[in-house]
Symmetry: C2
Protein backbone atom coordinates (compact mmCIF):
# COMPACT_ATOMS: atom_id res chain seq x y z
CA UNK A 1 0.00 0.00 0.00
CA UNK A 2 1.33 3.41 -0.96
CA UNK A 3 1.11 5.84 1.93
CA UNK A 4 -0.01 9.34 0.93
CA UNK A 5 0.59 12.53 2.91
CA UNK A 6 -3.12 12.92 3.64
CA UNK A 7 -3.17 9.41 5.14
CA UNK A 8 -0.87 10.54 7.95
CA UNK A 9 -1.62 12.13 11.31
CA UNK A 10 1.15 14.61 11.91
CA UNK A 11 0.28 15.02 15.59
CA UNK A 12 0.74 11.31 16.29
CA UNK A 13 4.28 11.09 14.92
CA UNK A 14 5.23 14.29 16.76
CA UNK A 15 3.71 13.11 20.04
CA UNK A 16 5.65 9.84 19.88
CA UNK A 17 8.82 11.88 19.34
CA UNK A 18 8.02 13.82 22.50
CA UNK A 19 7.54 10.60 24.52
CA UNK A 20 10.94 9.39 23.27
CA UNK A 21 12.48 12.69 24.41
CA UNK A 22 12.17 11.63 28.08
CA UNK A 23 15.20 9.70 29.33
CA UNK A 24 17.06 8.71 32.47
CA UNK A 25 19.15 11.85 32.08
CA UNK A 26 16.05 13.99 31.43
CA UNK A 27 13.12 12.38 33.25
CA UNK A 28 11.37 15.78 33.60
CA UNK A 29 10.96 18.15 30.69
CA UNK A 30 9.63 21.69 30.43
CA UNK A 31 7.93 22.75 27.21
CA UNK A 32 11.20 24.41 26.10
CA UNK A 33 13.19 21.26 26.95
CA UNK A 34 10.84 19.07 24.89
CA UNK A 35 11.07 21.52 22.01
CA UNK A 36 14.89 21.53 22.18
CA UNK A 37 15.24 17.72 22.35
CA UNK A 38 12.73 16.95 19.58
CA UNK A 39 13.35 19.90 17.26
CA UNK A 40 9.61 20.62 17.25
CA UNK A 41 8.57 24.25 17.64
CA UNK A 42 7.48 25.37 21.10
CA UNK A 43 3.74 25.55 20.31
CA UNK A 44 3.74 22.02 18.90
CA UNK A 45 5.77 20.61 21.80
CA UNK A 46 3.31 22.29 24.17
CA UNK A 47 0.26 20.76 22.45
CA UNK A 48 1.91 17.32 22.49
CA UNK A 49 2.68 17.54 26.22
CA UNK A 50 -0.80 18.83 27.08
CA UNK A 51 -2.39 16.05 25.04
CA UNK A 52 -0.22 13.45 26.79
CA UNK A 53 -1.30 14.92 30.16
CA UNK A 54 -4.98 14.96 29.25
CA UNK A 55 -4.76 11.32 28.11
CA UNK A 56 -2.99 10.25 31.33
CA UNK A 57 0.45 9.51 29.83
CA UNK A 58 2.18 12.48 31.46
CA UNK A 59 1.98 14.37 34.75
CA UNK A 60 2.51 18.14 35.01
CA UNK A 61 3.67 19.95 38.14
CA UNK A 62 3.17 23.47 36.81
CA UNK A 63 6.61 23.66 35.23
CA UNK A 64 7.83 20.17 34.32
CA UNK A 65 6.21 17.19 32.65
CA UNK A 66 7.11 13.59 33.53
CA UNK A 67 5.80 10.30 32.13
CA UNK A 68 3.29 8.19 34.12
CA UNK A 69 3.14 4.38 34.46
CA UNK A 70 0.45 4.44 31.77
CA UNK A 71 3.22 4.88 29.18
CA UNK A 72 4.38 1.38 30.13
CA UNK A 73 1.23 0.09 28.42
CA UNK A 74 2.70 1.17 25.09
CA UNK A 75 6.13 -0.45 25.17
CA UNK A 76 5.20 -3.47 27.19
CA UNK A 77 2.19 -3.80 24.94
CA UNK A 78 4.86 -4.52 22.35
CA UNK A 79 6.91 -6.89 24.53
CA UNK A 80 3.64 -8.60 25.47
CA UNK A 81 2.78 -9.07 21.82
CA UNK A 82 6.10 -10.77 21.17
CA UNK A 83 5.99 -14.52 21.68
CA UNK A 84 9.81 -14.54 21.74
CA UNK A 85 10.37 -13.55 25.43
CA UNK A 86 7.88 -16.14 26.66
CA UNK A 87 9.38 -18.90 24.55
CA UNK A 88 13.01 -18.22 25.41
CA UNK A 89 12.72 -17.37 29.13
CA UNK A 90 12.55 -20.97 30.46
CA UNK A 91 15.54 -21.98 28.27
CA UNK A 92 17.42 -18.93 29.47
CA UNK A 93 16.70 -19.71 33.15
CA UNK A 94 17.95 -23.25 32.68
CA UNK A 95 21.05 -22.24 30.72
CA UNK A 96 21.97 -19.49 33.16
CA UNK A 97 21.60 -21.77 36.15
CA UNK A 98 23.56 -24.63 34.60
CA UNK A 99 26.55 -22.44 33.68
CA UNK A 100 26.15 -20.11 36.71
CA UNK A 101 26.46 -16.98 34.55
CA UNK A 102 24.03 -14.34 33.30
CA UNK A 103 22.42 -14.97 29.94
CA UNK A 104 20.24 -12.77 27.73
CA UNK A 105 18.28 -12.70 24.49
CA UNK A 106 18.03 -9.55 22.40
CA UNK A 107 16.76 -8.30 19.06
CA UNK A 108 17.98 -5.53 16.75
CA UNK A 109 16.27 -2.11 16.52
CA UNK A 110 18.28 -0.12 13.98
CA UNK A 111 21.68 0.59 15.57
CA UNK A 112 20.78 -0.81 19.01
CA UNK A 113 20.08 -4.17 20.57
CA UNK A 114 17.00 -4.43 22.80
CA UNK A 115 16.96 -6.99 25.62
CA UNK A 116 13.79 -9.06 25.49
CA UNK A 117 14.64 -11.68 28.12
CA UNK A 118 17.34 -12.08 30.72
CA UNK A 119 18.38 -14.52 33.46
CA UNK A 120 20.90 -12.95 35.83
CA UNK A 121 23.16 -14.92 38.14
CA UNK A 122 25.37 -12.17 39.47
CA UNK A 123 26.00 -8.52 38.76
CA UNK A 124 28.96 -8.01 36.42
CA UNK A 125 27.98 -4.88 34.51
CA UNK A 126 27.85 -1.45 36.10
CA UNK A 127 24.44 -0.84 34.52
CA UNK A 128 21.43 -2.97 35.32
CA UNK A 129 19.88 -4.72 32.35
CA UNK A 130 16.22 -5.70 32.06
CA UNK A 131 13.82 -6.49 29.24
CA UNK A 132 13.60 -3.28 27.24
CA UNK A 133 17.16 -2.18 28.05
CA UNK A 134 19.24 -1.04 25.07
CA UNK A 135 22.91 -1.13 24.18
CA UNK A 136 24.66 -0.15 20.94
CA UNK A 137 24.96 -3.06 18.49
CA UNK A 138 28.48 -2.30 17.15
CA UNK A 139 30.30 -3.10 20.42
CA UNK A 140 28.20 -5.95 21.89
CA UNK A 141 28.43 -9.67 21.14
CA UNK A 142 24.68 -9.93 20.46
CA UNK A 143 24.84 -6.84 18.26
CA UNK A 144 27.68 -8.31 16.16
CA UNK A 145 25.71 -11.54 15.69
CA UNK A 146 22.56 -9.64 14.67
CA UNK A 147 24.48 -7.34 12.32
CA UNK A 148 26.17 -10.42 10.78
CA UNK A 149 22.75 -11.74 9.76
CA UNK A 150 22.10 -8.71 7.53
CA UNK A 151 23.31 -8.09 3.97
CA UNK A 152 26.69 -6.29 4.00
CA UNK A 153 25.31 -2.99 2.65
CA UNK A 154 22.67 -2.88 5.39
CA UNK A 155 25.28 -3.72 8.06
CA UNK A 156 27.48 -0.92 6.78
CA UNK A 157 24.58 1.56 6.76
CA UNK A 158 23.79 0.74 10.41
CA UNK A 159 27.44 0.99 11.46
CA UNK A 160 27.71 4.37 9.76
CA UNK A 161 24.54 5.52 11.55
CA UNK A 162 25.86 4.32 14.95
CA UNK A 163 27.43 6.77 17.38
CA UNK A 164 30.61 4.65 17.62
CA UNK A 165 31.96 5.74 21.00
CA UNK A 166 35.34 4.55 22.25
CA UNK A 167 33.79 3.06 25.40
CA UNK A 168 37.03 1.39 26.50
CA UNK A 169 40.55 1.24 25.06
CA UNK A 170 39.50 -2.05 23.44
CA UNK A 171 36.34 -0.85 21.66
CA UNK A 172 36.57 -1.21 17.89
CA UNK A 173 35.12 1.93 16.29
CA UNK A 174 36.60 1.88 12.78
CA UNK A 175 34.02 0.84 10.17
CA UNK A 176 36.38 -1.39 8.16
CA UNK A 177 37.63 -3.15 11.29
CA UNK A 178 34.03 -3.64 12.46
CA UNK A 179 32.98 -4.99 9.03
CA UNK A 180 35.89 -7.48 9.17
CA UNK A 181 34.81 -8.59 12.68
CA UNK A 182 31.21 -9.01 11.51
CA UNK A 183 32.20 -11.07 8.44
CA UNK A 184 34.34 -13.25 10.74
CA UNK A 185 31.38 -13.57 13.13
CA UNK A 186 29.17 -14.74 10.26
CA UNK A 187 31.75 -17.35 9.22
CA UNK A 188 32.44 -18.85 12.64
CA UNK A 189 28.80 -18.63 13.83
CA UNK A 190 29.41 -16.77 17.06
CA UNK A 191 30.73 -13.44 18.35
CA UNK A 192 32.99 -12.80 21.32
CA UNK A 193 33.65 -9.46 22.97
CA UNK A 194 36.53 -8.80 25.35
CA UNK A 195 35.83 -5.64 27.36
CA UNK A 196 34.62 -3.48 24.48
CA UNK A 197 31.39 -2.47 26.26
CA UNK A 198 33.01 -1.87 29.60
CA UNK A 199 36.23 -2.89 31.33
CA UNK A 200 35.90 -6.14 33.23
CA UNK A 201 33.10 -7.52 31.06
CA UNK A 202 33.31 -10.28 28.47
CA UNK A 203 30.53 -11.81 26.42
CA UNK A 204 29.95 -14.50 23.81
CA UNK A 205 26.84 -14.74 21.61
CA UNK A 206 25.22 -16.97 19.00
CA UNK A 207 22.32 -16.26 16.62
CA UNK A 208 18.88 -17.80 17.29
CA UNK A 209 17.20 -19.04 14.13
CA UNK A 210 13.55 -19.66 13.34
CA UNK A 211 12.29 -22.73 11.48
CA UNK A 212 13.04 -21.06 8.15
CA UNK A 213 16.66 -20.58 9.16
CA UNK A 214 16.34 -16.80 9.59
CA UNK A 215 18.18 -15.11 12.48
CA UNK A 216 15.46 -13.63 14.69
CA UNK A 217 17.40 -12.91 17.89
CA UNK A 218 20.75 -13.35 19.63
CA UNK A 219 21.57 -15.33 22.79
CA UNK A 220 24.58 -14.48 24.94
CA UNK A 221 26.48 -15.20 28.12
CA UNK A 222 28.08 -12.27 29.92
CA UNK A 223 30.76 -12.77 32.53
CA UNK A 224 33.53 -11.07 34.45
CA UNK A 225 36.91 -10.79 32.71
CA UNK A 226 39.43 -12.95 34.55
CA UNK A 227 43.07 -13.87 33.99
CA UNK A 228 42.19 -16.76 31.70
CA UNK A 229 42.16 -16.09 27.95
CA UNK A 230 39.13 -15.55 25.71
CA UNK A 231 39.84 -18.98 24.14
CA UNK A 232 38.99 -20.62 27.46
CA UNK A 233 35.80 -18.56 27.75
CA UNK A 234 34.80 -19.49 24.21
CA UNK A 235 35.48 -23.20 24.61
CA UNK A 236 33.65 -23.23 27.95
CA UNK A 237 30.45 -21.42 26.95
CA UNK A 238 29.94 -21.69 23.19
CA UNK A 239 28.89 -25.39 23.39
CA UNK A 240 26.12 -24.54 25.91
CA UNK A 241 24.94 -21.63 23.77
CA UNK A 242 24.89 -23.79 20.63
CA UNK A 243 22.96 -26.53 22.34
CA UNK A 244 20.37 -24.01 23.67
CA UNK A 245 20.15 -22.69 20.11
CA UNK A 246 19.47 -26.21 18.77
CA UNK A 247 16.74 -26.78 21.35
CA UNK A 248 15.07 -23.49 20.39
CA UNK A 249 15.34 -24.05 16.65
CA UNK A 250 11.92 -24.40 15.08
CA UNK A 251 10.18 -23.00 18.18
CA UNK A 252 10.79 -19.38 17.28
CA UNK A 253 8.44 -17.31 15.12
Amino acid sequence: MEIKERDLMGGLAKGLKVIEAFSLEKPRLSISDASAVTGLDRATARRCLLTLSAAGYAAYDGKFFSLTPRVLRLGTGCLATMPLPRIVQPFLDQLSESIDQSSSVSILDETEIVYVARAAQRRVMSISLMPGSRLPAYCTSMGRVLLAALPDNETRRLLEASPRTQRTERTITDISALMAEIVATRERGYASIDQEVELGLRSVAVPLLNSRGRTVAALNVGLAATAEGMETVISRYIPSLLSAREELKGMLP
Copy 2:
Protein backbone atom coordinates in the same frame (compact mmCIF):
# COMPACT_ATOMS: atom_id res chain seq x y z
CA MET B 1 -2.80 25.23 33.69
CA GLU B 2 -6.27 24.83 32.22
CA ILE B 3 -6.23 22.61 29.15
CA LYS B 4 -8.45 23.83 26.31
CA GLU B 5 -9.80 21.74 23.46
CA ARG B 6 -7.67 23.60 20.90
CA ASP B 7 -4.55 22.75 22.94
CA LEU B 8 -5.04 19.06 22.21
CA MET B 9 -3.91 16.92 19.29
CA GLY B 10 -6.73 14.49 18.64
CA GLY B 11 -4.57 12.28 16.43
CA LEU B 12 -2.02 11.69 19.18
CA ALA B 13 -4.52 10.42 21.75
CA LYS B 14 -6.15 8.20 19.11
CA GLY B 15 -2.82 6.80 17.91
CA LEU B 16 -1.81 5.85 21.46
CA LYS B 17 -5.14 4.06 21.81
CA VAL B 18 -4.31 2.09 18.68
CA ILE B 19 -0.87 1.09 20.06
CA GLU B 20 -2.58 -0.12 23.26
CA ALA B 21 -4.98 -2.20 21.14
CA PHE B 22 -2.18 -4.68 20.32
CA SER B 23 -1.89 -7.48 22.90
CA LEU B 24 -0.58 -11.00 23.40
CA GLU B 25 -3.98 -12.29 22.28
CA LYS B 26 -4.05 -9.91 19.29
CA PRO B 27 -0.45 -9.25 18.22
CA ARG B 28 -1.54 -8.58 14.62
CA LEU B 29 -4.42 -6.28 13.75
CA SER B 30 -6.16 -5.46 10.49
CA ILE B 31 -7.64 -1.98 10.07
CA SER B 32 -11.07 -3.40 10.98
CA ASP B 33 -9.63 -5.14 14.07
CA ALA B 34 -8.03 -1.91 15.28
CA SER B 35 -11.27 -0.06 14.69
CA ALA B 36 -13.24 -2.68 16.64
CA VAL B 37 -10.85 -2.79 19.63
CA THR B 38 -10.46 0.99 19.97
CA GLY B 39 -13.95 2.13 18.99
CA LEU B 40 -12.40 4.54 16.47
CA ASP B 41 -14.02 4.70 13.05
CA ARG B 42 -12.35 2.74 10.27
CA ALA B 43 -10.86 5.76 8.46
CA THR B 44 -9.29 7.06 11.68
CA ALA B 45 -7.93 3.63 12.66
CA ARG B 46 -6.45 3.37 9.15
CA ARG B 47 -4.71 6.75 9.38
CA CYS B 48 -3.33 5.88 12.83
CA LEU B 49 -1.91 2.54 11.59
CA LEU B 50 -0.43 4.11 8.45
CA THR B 51 1.17 6.86 10.51
CA LEU B 52 2.62 4.29 12.92
CA SER B 53 4.02 2.37 9.91
CA ALA B 54 5.51 5.47 8.30
CA ALA B 55 7.19 6.42 11.60
CA GLY B 56 8.60 2.90 12.07
CA TYR B 57 6.46 1.81 15.04
CA ALA B 58 4.43 -0.74 13.07
CA ALA B 59 5.03 -3.20 10.25
CA TYR B 60 2.42 -4.01 7.59
CA ASP B 61 2.28 -7.25 5.62
CA GLY B 62 -0.47 -6.16 3.22
CA LYS B 63 -3.28 -7.24 5.52
CA PHE B 64 -2.14 -7.12 9.14
CA PHE B 65 -0.20 -4.59 11.19
CA SER B 66 2.13 -5.59 14.04
CA LEU B 67 4.27 -3.47 16.36
CA THR B 68 8.05 -3.19 15.85
CA PRO B 69 10.81 -3.08 18.50
CA ARG B 70 10.80 0.70 18.08
CA VAL B 71 7.65 0.80 20.25
CA LEU B 72 9.81 -0.43 23.13
CA ARG B 73 11.45 3.00 23.10
CA LEU B 74 8.21 4.48 24.37
CA GLY B 75 7.46 2.31 27.39
CA THR B 76 11.02 1.63 28.39
CA GLY B 77 11.64 5.34 27.98
CA CYS B 78 9.31 5.51 30.94
CA LEU B 79 10.93 2.71 32.96
CA ALA B 80 14.30 4.25 32.15
CA THR B 81 13.13 7.60 33.48
CA MET B 82 12.08 6.05 36.77
CA PRO B 83 14.86 6.02 39.37
CA LEU B 84 12.82 3.49 41.38
CA PRO B 85 13.85 0.27 39.53
CA ARG B 86 17.53 1.16 39.68
CA ILE B 87 17.39 1.99 43.39
CA VAL B 88 15.44 -1.08 44.48
CA GLN B 89 17.05 -3.76 42.26
CA PRO B 90 20.19 -4.37 44.40
CA PHE B 91 18.05 -4.60 47.59
CA LEU B 92 15.70 -6.96 45.82
CA ASP B 93 18.55 -9.20 44.62
CA GLN B 94 19.93 -9.39 48.15
CA LEU B 95 16.55 -10.02 49.78
CA SER B 96 15.58 -12.66 47.25
CA GLU B 97 18.85 -14.52 47.64
CA SER B 98 18.80 -14.38 51.44
CA ILE B 99 15.28 -15.81 51.72
CA ASP B 100 15.59 -18.02 48.60
CA GLN B 101 12.26 -16.84 47.21
CA SER B 102 11.18 -14.51 44.40
CA SER B 103 10.67 -10.88 45.30
CA SER B 104 9.25 -7.95 43.32
CA VAL B 105 8.53 -4.25 43.46
CA SER B 106 5.50 -2.75 41.73
CA ILE B 107 3.60 0.50 41.39
CA LEU B 108 -0.09 1.23 40.80
CA ASP B 109 -1.51 2.25 37.42
CA GLU B 110 -5.25 2.71 37.93
CA THR B 111 -6.70 -0.77 38.60
CA GLU B 112 -3.47 -2.66 37.88
CA ILE B 113 -0.08 -3.12 39.45
CA VAL B 114 2.95 -2.78 37.16
CA TYR B 115 6.14 -4.68 38.00
CA VAL B 116 9.13 -2.34 37.93
CA ALA B 117 11.77 -4.69 39.37
CA ARG B 118 11.97 -8.39 40.11
CA ALA B 119 14.44 -10.94 41.46
CA ALA B 120 13.32 -14.49 40.71
CA GLN B 121 14.61 -17.56 42.53
CA ARG B 122 12.34 -20.22 41.12
CA ARG B 123 9.25 -20.36 38.95
CA VAL B 124 6.07 -20.55 41.02
CA MET B 125 3.55 -18.73 38.86
CA SER B 126 2.24 -20.11 35.60
CA ILE B 127 2.85 -16.75 33.91
CA SER B 128 6.27 -15.21 33.62
CA LEU B 129 6.69 -11.83 35.26
CA MET B 130 9.15 -9.15 34.17
CA PRO B 131 9.44 -5.38 34.56
CA GLY B 132 6.39 -3.99 32.79
CA SER B 133 4.20 -7.01 33.53
CA ARG B 134 0.76 -6.22 34.92
CA LEU B 135 -1.64 -7.92 37.28
CA PRO B 136 -4.96 -6.69 38.70
CA ALA B 137 -4.55 -4.82 42.00
CA TYR B 138 -7.68 -6.15 43.79
CA CYS B 139 -6.39 -9.74 44.14
CA THR B 140 -2.62 -9.26 44.62
CA SER B 141 -0.73 -8.56 47.84
CA MET B 142 1.11 -5.59 46.29
CA GLY B 143 -2.17 -4.26 44.88
CA ARG B 144 -3.86 -4.41 48.29
CA VAL B 145 -0.95 -2.53 49.87
CA LEU B 146 -1.02 0.15 47.15
CA LEU B 147 -4.82 0.50 47.33
CA ALA B 148 -4.55 0.78 51.14
CA ALA B 149 -2.38 3.89 50.71
CA LEU B 150 -5.19 5.77 48.91
CA PRO B 151 -8.15 7.61 50.44
CA ASP B 152 -11.15 5.25 50.86
CA ASN B 153 -13.26 6.90 48.15
CA GLU B 154 -10.42 6.54 45.61
CA THR B 155 -9.85 2.90 46.61
CA ARG B 156 -13.55 2.21 46.16
CA ARG B 157 -13.60 3.91 42.76
CA LEU B 158 -10.70 1.74 41.56
CA LEU B 159 -12.29 -1.45 42.91
CA GLU B 160 -15.54 -0.59 41.14
CA ALA B 161 -13.60 0.02 37.91
CA SER B 162 -11.73 -3.32 38.21
CA PRO B 163 -12.87 -6.36 36.28
CA ARG B 164 -13.07 -8.45 39.49
CA THR B 165 -12.70 -11.95 38.09
CA GLN B 166 -13.12 -15.01 40.32
CA ARG B 167 -9.61 -16.27 39.43
CA THR B 168 -9.69 -19.08 41.99
CA GLU B 169 -12.29 -20.27 44.52
CA ARG B 170 -10.45 -18.10 47.07
CA THR B 171 -10.46 -14.79 45.16
CA ILE B 172 -12.36 -12.06 46.99
CA THR B 173 -14.47 -10.16 44.44
CA ASP B 174 -17.12 -8.47 46.60
CA ILE B 175 -16.44 -4.74 47.01
CA SER B 176 -17.35 -4.58 50.72
CA ALA B 177 -15.22 -7.62 51.53
CA LEU B 178 -12.32 -6.11 49.54
CA MET B 179 -12.69 -2.74 51.31
CA ALA B 180 -12.59 -4.54 54.68
CA GLU B 181 -9.41 -6.41 53.61
CA ILE B 182 -7.82 -3.15 52.49
CA VAL B 183 -8.65 -1.33 55.72
CA ALA B 184 -7.16 -4.28 57.66
CA THR B 185 -4.07 -4.13 55.40
CA ARG B 186 -3.66 -0.42 56.20
CA GLU B 187 -3.91 -1.11 59.94
CA ARG B 188 -1.48 -4.03 60.13
CA GLY B 189 0.98 -2.58 57.61
CA TYR B 190 1.17 -5.57 55.27
CA ALA B 191 -1.02 -7.67 52.97
CA SER B 192 -1.06 -11.43 52.57
CA ILE B 193 -2.71 -13.36 49.76
CA ASP B 194 -3.43 -17.08 49.89
CA GLN B 195 -4.02 -18.38 46.36
CA GLU B 196 -6.31 -15.59 45.16
CA VAL B 197 -4.27 -14.92 42.01
CA GLU B 198 -3.75 -18.55 41.15
CA LEU B 199 -3.90 -21.86 42.97
CA GLY B 200 -0.60 -22.82 44.54
CA LEU B 201 0.66 -19.24 44.91
CA ARG B 202 0.94 -17.22 48.09
CA SER B 203 2.34 -13.74 48.56
CA VAL B 204 3.02 -11.18 51.29
CA ALA B 205 3.68 -7.48 50.65
CA VAL B 206 4.60 -4.28 52.46
CA PRO B 207 4.45 -0.66 51.28
CA LEU B 208 7.67 1.19 50.37
CA LEU B 209 7.68 4.78 51.62
CA ASN B 210 9.65 7.79 50.45
CA SER B 211 11.33 10.26 52.79
CA ARG B 212 8.06 12.16 53.21
CA GLY B 213 6.31 8.98 54.38
CA ARG B 214 4.27 8.59 51.19
CA THR B 215 3.73 5.07 49.79
CA VAL B 216 5.42 5.06 46.38
CA ALA B 217 5.61 1.32 45.65
CA ALA B 218 5.02 -2.13 47.11
CA LEU B 219 7.54 -4.90 47.85
CA ASN B 220 6.51 -8.54 47.98
CA VAL B 221 7.65 -12.12 48.33
CA GLY B 222 5.84 -14.75 46.27
CA LEU B 223 6.11 -18.44 47.10
CA ALA B 224 4.52 -21.81 46.54
CA ALA B 225 1.59 -22.73 48.78
CA THR B 226 2.62 -25.59 51.07
CA ALA B 227 0.94 -27.48 53.91
CA GLU B 228 2.07 -24.93 56.50
CA GLY B 229 -0.34 -22.15 57.43
CA MET B 230 -0.25 -18.54 56.23
CA GLU B 231 0.74 -17.53 59.80
CA THR B 232 4.05 -19.35 59.35
CA VAL B 233 4.59 -17.66 55.98
CA ILE B 234 3.85 -14.25 57.49
CA SER B 235 6.10 -14.71 60.51
CA ARG B 236 8.90 -16.03 58.29
CA TYR B 237 8.92 -13.34 55.58
CA ILE B 238 7.36 -10.14 56.96
CA PRO B 239 10.43 -9.32 59.13
CA SER B 240 12.73 -9.49 56.05
CA LEU B 241 10.33 -7.34 54.02
CA LEU B 242 10.07 -4.78 56.82
CA SER B 243 13.82 -4.58 57.23
CA ALA B 244 14.30 -4.10 53.44
CA ARG B 245 11.65 -1.37 53.68
CA GLU B 246 13.57 0.35 56.48
CA GLU B 247 16.81 0.23 54.49
CA LEU B 248 15.07 1.78 51.49
CA LYS B 249 13.28 4.48 53.48
CA GLY B 250 14.54 7.91 52.51
CA MET B 251 16.23 6.61 49.35
CA LEU B 252 13.08 6.59 47.26
CA PRO B 253 11.88 9.62 45.29
